[in-house]
């Protein structure tokens, strides 16, 4: 009885090249030292690791569990230790990395306890399915669709035909051929399990007629089991599931459905063998048959490779001629993709590795233009018009691509194989598919964003309406009250005694408040603050105007007439600002003199403040290191910059070192101080906060080091960089040490409650502002650097940048000094005797600081502006001179400010 074979249209018959590997039996390579197990070896969601680094695992033990419905678990292919769970390069056409589990083999290859099902006919079907799923069995033909999911997708009586795919149509590959020849019984075992599960009417094994031995072996194994072995003609791509289904049954799978929808399931022979192993032996899928072939191998053969084995291990085993190796193809020559390195792991779907020489897979010739000869459409197994698809793909005409059924293309490569113009057609289709998918995603996101935007608008609208309503209500209530009041005034007699009592109470409260105010006013502060406030408002208004004009100036760069005008305007405004500031300063100073307050509470904050200061510094250092490291990252690509970067990094490190030292000192210092003080509850949380921050910092430093390391990886073997990295690492270690010290140190720090509470806010405010400033300065420098990056190697710009950096450094130093300044003062304060001067000194400083801060802010703004201009100048070389000048001016201003700040803090 022979089945009618339905020929599909198209197809090609490339040279088979199967003889090289098909004559040798399946070999067992030695155990590799290390296995890399990607978490995503199947289609669907990646698995979720259930082990952690350092765990010892046994062969067959679950390492990662399936995560979601369409997903598959990963098991340990041998016994050993988990050394890492990290992103590693995986065999993917993109060459990108994916999370993997790294397993160090212990050489014992010790099995975990297995739980085979002795009699599957007696077992529950759900249990069997679960078992197959838990064993991590996926389609071994190439797609890697989880096998159990496919089985469970339809209830048993819906599947009438099971097609077993032994066609293996790609040239070179003989893995299934060897499997069928040597392990036909296992395959049949798997088929029988499948029959038990699904109860199909028909089971057909399709094998191409170039594998007579496999046909014989399968026929022998199937004898008397009502399984049909059908021989199909050798024509690529008959091994494609839908092609094979058509060959054997004459049925087409509709384009918007899967084969299960028409009652047909198709499994690769390897998958069925794995199903057999999973049920009968209880073994999870931890190895597979992989063909090793290609001219660059001494002994092409099939091996049973453990999943995760590095490819070079296997190639070595087959006698790789390294000097002849030109390209390494994973999969067959028609659909496989090249690997750029040989240490990629074998996956569950890796059916073949071709170590090809130059002669074997020569680089593609330069494509000529398509002459629409139509050979491609003759070869297309799904009756597409590849030449039209190519044309539309080139024109990016997505509508037409869809219309020409681009998404029905199976990327078999038959068209590109026959193309006389050597056009890489498949790549065009893949690229267009990707583009269309991306656009669709974009479209969806746009829809979604639109909805969110509209929601937000609606919300804002509603809020506004609510506010409006509230305001109205308030107004109404006020009106009501007024009316009532009027009414009350009209007949006071009506007022109840209780009410008047209440009123009295209110009055009393008010009186009290005024009294308090008065006393406080006497104390000096509030009065000043009123004046100050006024001045401040004025100042800020003028400043805003100044800023506006400056921006206008920046915008107006082109027209010179307006320029002068604006400039004078700005000058005027600046002058105004200066006078205002002076006034402000005076005002601020005035009250200080009149501020004889209670014995101040200053002692405590000092310590606290020092810590804080150090924290800020360390944050700055951290930022600098980070910056340097980011630069280092980038340097991975341009080796030219390395020297410069190294320098920067070193500078940053020295800075960091200094800071650490300071911090250590600080951490050490406070320890003895508070010993005398009462233990209190307050400080503790504060400390813990600081600790937390330090911890975060340390974590970040670590991350930075890691990044640097990665950059180093990319940059290749630059000893200098390595050194830099080591230094960075050391620094990180030191930071951590410092942190520990800090964490230990401050515990005893607390002092009296009262003073602490009062003093803290003052200091912390000033510091915060300083911090913000520092951050802004940093940002400015960074921007400048970015501009530099863009501008390429313009020495002038570089100089400008260096100056800016120097300025920033100065500013920072100044700030440091300013922050430090108050520190020594209060040292003697534990004694109440010294209170007065301390109190006095403090506000003065703070005011001056403020003034300086404003100046600094202005300078900063100028620098920022200049740098933004510099940014723009990345494209326009003509403006550079002008900009440089501006920048220099700005820097001069900044320098002046910094100087002043210095002086003040001194």
């Amino acid at each position: 009885m022979s089945r009618q074979i339905h020929a599909f249209p198209g197809g090609v018959h490339p040279p088979e090249n199967k003889d090289q590997s098909s004559h040798n039996p399946i070999a067992l390579p030695p155990l590799p030292a290390e296995l890399t197990l990607p978490l995503n070896q199947h289609s669907g969601a990646p698995a979720k690791p259930v082990v952690s680094v350092g765990d010892k695992v046994l062969k067959g033990q679950l390492l990662a569990k399936a995560n979601g419905f369409v997903s598959a678990p990963v098991h340990a292919p041998t016994s050993g230790t988990i050394t890492a769970i990290e992103v590693c390069p995986v065999p993917h056409p993109s060459g990108l990395e994916e999370p993997c589990i790294i397993l160090q083999s212990d050489g014992e290859d010790r099995w975990a306890e297995l739980e085979p099902v002795t009699d599957y006919t007696a077992a529950a079907k759900d249990l069997l399915l679960q078992k197959i799923h838990d064993a991590g069995v996926v389609g071994l033909g190439g797609a890697g669709f989880p096998a159990a999911v496919k089985m469970a997708s339809r209830t048993e009586d819906k599947i009438h035909t099971v097609v077993v795919n032994g066609a293996e149509c790609e040239p070179y590959i003989t893995a299934d051929d060897r499997l069928m020849r040597e392990r036909a019984d296992k395959i049949v075992g798997g088929i029988l399990i499948l029959r038990h599960l699904l109860n199909p009417k028909e089971i057909i094994i399709g094998i191409e007629d170039n594998k007579p031995e496999a046909v014989d072996a399968m026929r022998a194994a199937c004898k008397g089991k009502n399984i049909e072995v059908a021989v199909v003609p050798t024509r690529y791509p008959s091994g494609d599931a839908q092609r094979l289904i058509y060959l054997l049954t004459g049925k087409e799978v509709p384009n918007d459905a899967r084969s299960v929808d028409i009652g047909i399931l198709c499994y690769n022979v390897g998958t069925l063998a794995a199903v057999h192993d999973a049920i009968v032996e209880g073994k999870p899928l931890i190895s597979r048959i992989t063909t090793l072939t290609g001219e660059a191998l001494k002994q092409p053969q099939n091996v049973e490779a453990l999943i995760g084995t590095p490819a070079d291990h296997l190639l070595e085993f087959s006698g790789l001629k390294k000097r002849k190796l030109h390209s390494l193809v994973l999969g067959g020559p028609m659909m496989g993709h090249t690997l750029e390195r040989t240490d990629m792991p074998v996956l569950k779907t890796t059916n073949c590795l071709i170590a090809a020489t130059w002669e074997e897979f020569p680089p593609a010739p330069t494509p000529q233009e398509c002459i629409r000869c139509g050979l491609c459409s003759e070869a297309c197994p799904v009756s597409l018009l590849p030449q039209q698809l190519y044309w539309h793909s080139k024109a990016e005409n997505h509508d037409q691509l869809n219309h020409h059924n681009l998404f029905d293309c199976i990327e078999c490569g038959a068209c590109a194989y026959v193309c006389p113009s050597a056009i890489p057609l498949v790549q065009y289709y893949r690229a267009s598919k990707g583009e269309i998918r991306q656009l669709q995603a974009k479209q969806q996101k746009a829809e979604y964003s639109k909805k969110r935007f509209e929601d937000r608008q609606a919300r804002l609208e509603a809020e506004k309406a609510a506010r409006e309503a509230k305001r109205k209500a308030n107004a109404e209530r006020a009106a009501q009250l007024k009316k009532e009041k009027a009414a009350a005034a009209a007949n006071p007699a009506a007022a109840k005694p209780e009410d008047s009592a209440k009123a009295d109470e209110v009055k009393a409260a008010l009186a009290r408040a005024t009294a308090r105010k008065a006393t406080e006013g006497k104390a000096g502060r509030p009065q000043l603050s009123a004046k100050q406030k006024e001045l401040k408002i004025q100042l800020s208004m003028v400043k805003a105007q100044l800023k506006k004009s400056e921006r206008a100036l920046a915008d107006a760069k082109g027209s010179e007439e307006t320029n002068a005008q604006l400039q004078t305007n700005i000058d005027k405004l600046k002058a105004q600002v200066a006078t205002l500031e002076k006034e402000f300063e005076q005002a601020a100073q005035a009250p200080v003199a009149a501020a004889p307050e209670q014995p101040a509470k200053k002692a405590k904050p000092v310590l606290n403040e020092q810590q804080k200061k150090l924290k800020i510094e360390s944050a700055m250092a951290r930022a600098a290191v980070k910056k340097a490291q980011r630069a280092l990252d980038e340097a991975g690509k341009s080796a030219a910059n390395i020297d410069e970067l190294k320098q920067t990094l070193q500078q940053a490190q020295t800075k960091a070192d200094e800071l650490e030292a300071a911090m250590k000192a600080a951490a050490d210092a406070p320890a003895p101080e508070p010993a005398a003080d009462k233990p209190v509850k307050k400080p503790k949380p504060a400390l813990s906060d600081a600790q937390k921050k330090l911890k975060i910092e340390a974590a970040m430093a670590r991350a930075a080091v890691k990044k640097a390391q990665r950059a180093l990886d990319e940059a290749g073997d630059t000893p200098e960089l390595k050194q830099a990295l080591q230094q960075a690492q050391e620094k990180a270690a030191e930071v951590e040490a410092a942190m520990q010290a800090a964490a230990e140190a401050p515990e005893p720090a607390p002092a009296e409650e009262k003073p602490a509470r009062k003093a803290k806010p003052v200091l912390s405010d000033a510091q915060k502002k300083l911090k913000i400033e520092a951050a802004m300065a940093r940002a400015a420098v960074k921007k400048a650097q970015r501009a530099l990056d863009e501008a390429g190697d313009d020495p002038e710009l570089k100089q400008a940048l260096q100056q800016a950096q120097a300025k920033a450094a100065e500013l920072e130093a100044a700030m440091q000094a300013a922050a430090e300044a108050p520190a020594p003062e209060p040292e003697p304060t534990p004694a109440p005797a010294a209170e007065k001067p301390a109190r006095k000194a403090k506000p003065v400083l703070s005011d001056e600081q403020k003034k300086l801060k404003i100046e600094a802010a202005m300078a900063r703004a100028a620098v920022k502006k200049a740098q933004r201009a510099l940014d723009d100048a990345g494209e326009d070389a003509a403006n550079i001179d002008e900009l440089k000048q501006t920048l220099q001016q700005a820097q001069a201003a900044a320098d002046a400010a910094a100087e002043a700040l210095d002086k003040a803090s001194a």
Binding site: D872, E875, D876, A878, N879
Partner: protein, 239 residues
């Protein structure tokens, strides 16, 4: 009326080159290709078109405030049609032979001019002076292309230039005809419809090339406009 103001210069430049109706906007192609097989035909229609365009622009500009928006277009079309009829009658009277040759393309100036859209786009928004200048220049740009095309086709197709000019300018012009090549074997392609399309295509390409050169030269001297300068904030930033 055509004072050399920058505005007038711009109008002139637009009409003759930058926004040339025939080469850039690909408008008025029908008569352009239909009658451009000799210089005399081209010139005849070109002059007629200039006349109608300038006249209609003037009229439309004069009545632009009186015309209701809803019936604007029909009124303009009617104005153009009236003027065209006048020109048609004039040609019938004075250059009857040419009128016969140009045939249907004279009344078709109506659609041509309404396509040029100057009445609606320009004249209805500008004072009469500018409108007339615009009409003249647009018409001149059109006529220029027409004549160049005519000269090209006539010289390549027949080997002559300015033949039969007397049809337009009277017997004086009979001697204007220039024979470029003696015993020229007619290259019918140039005279037949395909040649009209082809030479028009060449003219457009030549203009593209010249424009490219100009813009490249400009690019070398001018600096780039700042990018991303027209941004508007959607959301409140600092409230």
């Amino acid at each position: 009326m055509a004072s050399p103001t920058p505005e007038a210069r711009e109008i002139t430049l637009n009409g003759l080159w930058n926004n040339n109706p025939a080469l850039v906007q690909l408008l008025g192609l029908c008569p352009l290709l239909g009658v451009s097989n000799s210089v005399v035909n081209a010139l005849g229609l070109g002059l007629a078109t200039i006349l109608v365009l300038a006249g209609s622009n003037l009229v439309v500009s004069l009545i632009r405030h009186q015309v209701n928006d809803a019936i604007r277009l029909p009124v303009f079309v009617m104005v153009i049609a009236a003027l065209t009829t006048c020109v048609e009658l004039l040609m019938q009277a004075f250059t009857y032979e040419l009128y016969q040759i140009l045939g249907i393309f004279i009344p078709l100036i109506v659609t041509n001019c309404s396509i040029l859209g100057r009445a609606d786009a320009f004249a209805s928004k500008h004072p009469p002076g500018a409108a007339v200048l615009d009409g003249l220049m647009m018409g001149a740009g059109f006529a220029l292309v027409l004549v160049v095309l005519g000269a090209l086709r006539e010289s390549i197709g027949q080997g002559t230039l300015f033949a039969n000019m007397h049809l337009l300018f009277g017997p004086v012009a009979k001697s204007w005809s220039v024979v470029l090549v003696q015993d020229y074997k007619q290259f019918l392609f140039a005279i037949l419809p395909p040649g009209a399309f082809f030479f028009m295509g060449l003219l457009i390409a030549v203009k593209n090339i010249v424009d490219n050169r100009i813009s490249e030269a400009k690019k070398a001297t001018q600096d780039k406009p700042s990018t991303g300068s027209k941004r508007v904030r959607v959301t409140g930033t600092v409230s």
